[in-house]
């Protein structure tokens, strides 16, 4: 284990996220329990891949010309973001664009680059191993993440920083662990060095695709800042309503043994989270859940029972997860996670009861109101020169954004401002020399980034505000508003069963 630790994304913001509790053993993950999880999972996946005619899966591409040469396809070459995953033995596992089987030479080259660098320091026992990190050629960055037994490579033509591309690769890696579990993956590779991991991931590639692809129609959204800020967004609602919803879940679940988490989400935002005492849900794990729920239409129509691994919670074990939407007229998704594989019917019942109670008390309407919310409306606060802002509550890693309005509601302008936020975030959080504040006047806007012990604020202003005192006054007004509305826009406190 040479330096992967260095490679990991433990930047400030992540470290302060709720840490994994040491005593994982308390949970009594039994060996054969997990083994069973896997068996079930594999059969599930097979079913999925049979029913699911994913155009990207290798089987369905047989009719396409085998000799197709991506390396001369300008559309393929010009993709802004590419991700390749291979095993350390050089076996192709995944490509975001195209068909990995037809990119064999490229995967071979990637594997060679990685291995040449890692052996170059051999021979000197005192030295620790070297490993490749990145290559930059003109406007293209190539970033490597080596997580034995996998190699992930990101090729990026945008202005994102190396660290940001690396974080994206970490997300992809975690999404794989989410599907396979680290322990299982290591086991299969220990047995067979040239194992084809696609067998285990089959059917779930779209989860990875969804994590990386910018869907044009949903592109203009504050969602894209969630991963940048390592945080989650909260569905706004009155504090008492949220408390009552939480209580409803608590009362209906408190008697169920081995239930670890209950998560209620809607519109990519968290409504509430109830957990077993001493166990935390890491923001990164929560984001993976959001990703999977968002791209799985099938969850809407039926109850689902899936084993899933939360990498930050325990990369080596899986939790059984009951996933279903509350009802047809309320698009909130409830996830009940347990270590007990036999509790499907218990959880199914609990869910029915929760739904009924919420309907009777009119909380579904409150949720639907929250779903319509587009973000803070700046006009109502009285800060006319602020065009858009991102506010991260550092204590509970929750993100608040304002509504995306003119001029940033066109794709071109949104991508421009998004790139500016990425750049700002990268500069203020550079691991070796972090900053407290950046004020920047650009041609088309003014931006301010401010990191304190309790929050991070990134705000975009009208370009012609000449006086900094005006900017500071409006920032203060905004902060005051956030403080006042805290109960409604953030989820405060923790809830246990």
């Amino acid at each position: 284990m040479s330096d992967i630790s260095n490679f990991s994304d433990d930047d400030d913001s992540r470290q302060e996220d709720c840490a994994l509790v040491d005593a994982l053993s308390e949970l009594n993950f039994e060996e054969n329990n997990i083994e069973n999880i896997r068996k079930r999972k594999n059969s599930d996946n097979q079913e999925q891949s049979e029913t699911n005619s994913d155009p990207c899966s290798s089987n369905s591409l047989n009719f396409v010309d085998e000799e197709y040469d991506y390396l001369h396809d300008s559309e393929w070459i010009n993709q802004k973001c590419q991700v390749f995953i291979l095993s350390t033995a050089g076996k192709p596992i995944y490509t975001l664009h195209g068909d990995e089987d037809k990119l064999n030479p490229l995967f071979g080259l990637l594997q060679a680059l990685v291995s040449v660098v890692s052996v170059s320091s051999n021979g000197n026992p005192d030295e620790d191993d070297d490993c490749i990190r990145s290559i930059t050629a003109k406007n293209t960055k190539f970033v490597f993440l080596i997580k034995n037994p996998l190699i992930l490579v990101g090729v990026n033509k945008s202005k994102r920083s190396e660290q940001q591309i690396l974080n994206q690769l970490m997300d992809v890696y975690n999404q794989i662990i989410f599907i396979v579990t680290l322990k299982h993956m290591k086991n299969v590779y220990e047995k067979r060095n040239n194992y084809d991991l696609r067998k285990l991931v089959a059917g779930s590639e779209r989860w990875i695709d969804h994590l990386l692809k910018d869907e044009k129609q949903t592109r203009i959204s504050n969602n894209s800042f969630v991963s940048l800020m390592h945080s989650v967004r909260i569905l706004p609602m009155e504090a008492t309503t949220r408390d009552n919803i939480t209580k409803t879940i608590q009362t209906n679940c408190s008697k169920i043994k081995n239930l670890v988490f209950a998560v209620l989400i809607a519109n990519n935002k968290l409504i509430t989270l109830v957990r077993m005492k001493n166990y935390c849900m890491h923001t990164d794990d929560l984001r993976l859940i959001f990703n999977v729920v968002e791209c799985s239409e099938s969850f809407k129509t039926a109850e689902n029972w899936l084993p899933l691994c939360l990498p930050k919670f325990d990369p080596n074990g899986a939790l059984y997860c009951h996933i279903s939407y509350l009802s047809d007229d309320c698009e909130a998704c409830l996830l009940l996670m347990t270590v007990d594989q036999e509790s499907f019917s218990v959880l199914s019942n609990a869910k029915k009861n929760i739904t009924e109670k919420l309907r009777r008390s009119n909380y579904m309407e409150a949720i639907n109101e929250g779903i319509k919310d587009k973000g803070i409306n700046l006009k109502t606060i009285g800060v006319p020169d602020i065009r858009h802002f991102l506010y991260k509550n550092k204590k509970n890693t929750q993100l608040l954004c304002s509504e995306i309005t003119t001029p940033y509601n066109t794709l071109e302008q949104f991508e421009r401002i998004e790139a500016m936020y990425y750049d700002l975030h990268n500069r203020i959080h550079r691991v070796s020399r972090p900053l407290k504040l950046i004020y920047e006047m650009h041609e088309h806007e003014i931006q301010l980034a401010w990191v304190t012990a309790n929050y991070e604020l990134y705000a975009t202003f009208e370009p012609l505000v000449e006086k900094k005192s005006i900017i500071i006054a409006q920032v203060n007004k905004l902060l005051k508003y956030i403080k006042k509305e805290e109960d409604k826009i953030f989820m405060t406190g923790t809830h246990i069963f």
């Binding site: 070297d130 290559i135 930059t136 750049d423 020399r433 900053l435 900094k468």
Partner: protein, 488 residues
């Protein structure tokens, strides 16, 4: 253990087309430092070839790299910078990243500081290594001299070896900083009147047909006052003069005066800095320079001989047409007899100038803050955080800044961001301002307008509003000082 400094791992030049067949790969190697085993050299070259091929996969044919594109590769411990200044010729520099041995839970580990190695700085250092070769030896292609292919390559190898073995000793990696990235020069500030006198003097000099002087640089105390050479070449020539020629020259002057020659005498008599001091003719000693034009006549080469005449505190660099009679006895006499006395007058005037200037400066509020100011169009800069007056031309080759390495690193970060914008042609015309605050309460203010950049470093616990006001006041004051003299 202290943090190690950046160090040179290797530096090599290769041309893959010279050894395409198996068994002949060795022919690719044109220069390699350090001189390690053949197989290791070929392994390093092979790796670069693979990187070039790999990165090429992701760019379309017509957007392939040009001579200005430097590729970089980072590993945990090293950084490589490589570029192709001439078709198929690649120059590669590899650096060891600074590291520090640390202990955590009683286990020793090594932390590497890749962020301390700035792309923007080392890309320029790599490119300069080529431009320097070209300035003195002409292009690689032009050095392929001989009857057979092998002979040609051997000739080039010899030239590369002679040049780079010495050159690598002069690259100062450890003190490389923002000045290497901006590649601007600090000019000596003097009064308008004197400045125009010098311009006039040089124009007359160039108009004297039989001297064949084409371009001139005028220096006072080895600091540039006026130049008619393009800024990039001027930077290289200045580096050559300040790091090699002047130190050698003044040392020998010192020796002469110690051996009995009176100091006053040598000061009053002008001397040629280039060539043998006692020589009557410079014809065989003056260095040959190859200046390459950019822009419309891109790639056109003009060859000159360089003569430097020094009298009192001033030095005159003359780039003279290169032919059989260049810099003969007649030329030297002409300079001594009719040019020297005029230079003497100018030298005295500048000295007076500087005295007066000093007085005015002293009357002003002393600006204690540290700043750097540069102009992207004429490549001039002005910095006040170097201990020696002239940051570039110090004789021991060491830059001594008053800034902590963390602040210097931040300046480099800010500059890298600025030059990225510059290259992408975005926001060039507009006025911009950036203010950052570090964790230890340093503020850096950057202003950019009309192709001028200004970085101010303040250290105090203050608010954004106060810092903005203070920087505005300081900026106008500093600009007044910088522009006091030779700007229109």
């Amino acid at each position: 253990m202290l943090r190690t400094k950046i160090s040179l791992k290797n530096f090599f030049i290769f041309n893959s087309t010279y050894g395409p067949r198996e068994g002949e790969e060795e022919k690719k190697i044109l220069f390699f430092y350090p001189d390690i085993g053949k197989n290791e050299k070929l392994k390093d070259i092979g790796f670069i070839e693979a990187l070039i091929k790999f990165t090429g996969t992701f760019s379309l044919e017509h957007t392939h790299t040009s001579a200005n594109d430097v590729l970089t590769m980072k590993t945990k411990k090293t950084m490589k910078f490589f570029f192709e200044p001439e078709k198929n010729f690649w120059i590669v520099i590899s650096l060891n990243v600074p590291f520090e041995r640390k202990e955590k839970d009683k286990k020793e580990y090594i932390e590497y500081y890749a962020d301390d190695v700035h792309d923007s700085v080392f890309k320029k250092i790599l490119q300069r290594s080529y431009y320097n070769f070209r300035l003195f030896e002409n292009t690689f292609e032009d050095n392929l001299v001989g009857d057979s292919q092998d002979e040609k390559i051997d000739h080039l190898k010899t030239k590369l070896n002679q040049f780079y073995t010495k050159y690598l000793l002069t690259i100062n990696l450890q003190n490389a900083d923002i000045l290497d990235a901006i590649q601007c020069l600090q000019y000596k500030s003097i009064f308008y009147k004197t400045f125009f006198k010098i311009v006039n003097f040089i124009n007359i000099l160039i108009s004297i047909k039989n001297l064949k002087i084409k371009k001139c640089i005028f220096l006072y105390n080895q600091e540039i006052v006026y130049s008619s050479v393009n800024p990039r070449d001027l930077f290289l020539i200045n580096e050559y003069m300040t790091e090699l020629l002047f130190p050698k020259f003044f040392q020998s002057m010192q020796r002469n005066s110690n051996q009995g020659g009176s100091e006053i005498e040598t000061e009053i008599d002008g001397k040629f800095v280039t060539g043998n001091v006692s020589d009557e003719s410079l014809h065989n000693d003056a260095p040959k320079l190859h200046l390459y034009s950019e822009g419309a006549n891109n790639g056109e080469c003009e060859t000159y001989r360089m003569a430097i005449y020094n009298i009192l505190n001033v030095s005159l660099v003359m780039l003279v047409e290169d032919d059989d009679e260049t810099l003969g006895e007649e030329f030297c006499n002409e300079i001594r007899i009719s040019i020297g006395p005029q230079m003497k007058i100018i030298s005295k005037e500048i000295s007076d100038n500087i005295n007066q200037f000093q007085q005015i400066k002293n009357n002003d509020d002393n600006i204690l803050e540290k700043y750097i100011y540069f102009n992207h169009k004429n490549f001039r800069f002005h910095a006040c955080f170097y201990n020696n007056e002239n940051a570039i031309s110090n004789r021991d080759g060491k830059r001594n800044t008053q800034l902590s390495s963390s602040v210097m690193n931040l300046l480099c970060d800010l500059y890298a961001q600025e030059s990225d914008n510059f290259h992408n042609n975005s926001e060039i015309s507009s006025e911009r301002e950036t203010i950052i605050k570090t964790y230890n309460d340093f503020w850096i203010v950057r202003k950019f307008y009309n192709f001028r950049s200004f970085y101010l470093i303040l250290h105090k616990n203050s608010t954004l509003i106060d810092i903005a006001e203070e920087s505005q006041r300081l900026l106008s004051e500093i600009v007044k000082n910088v522009y006091f003299t030779n700007q229109k």
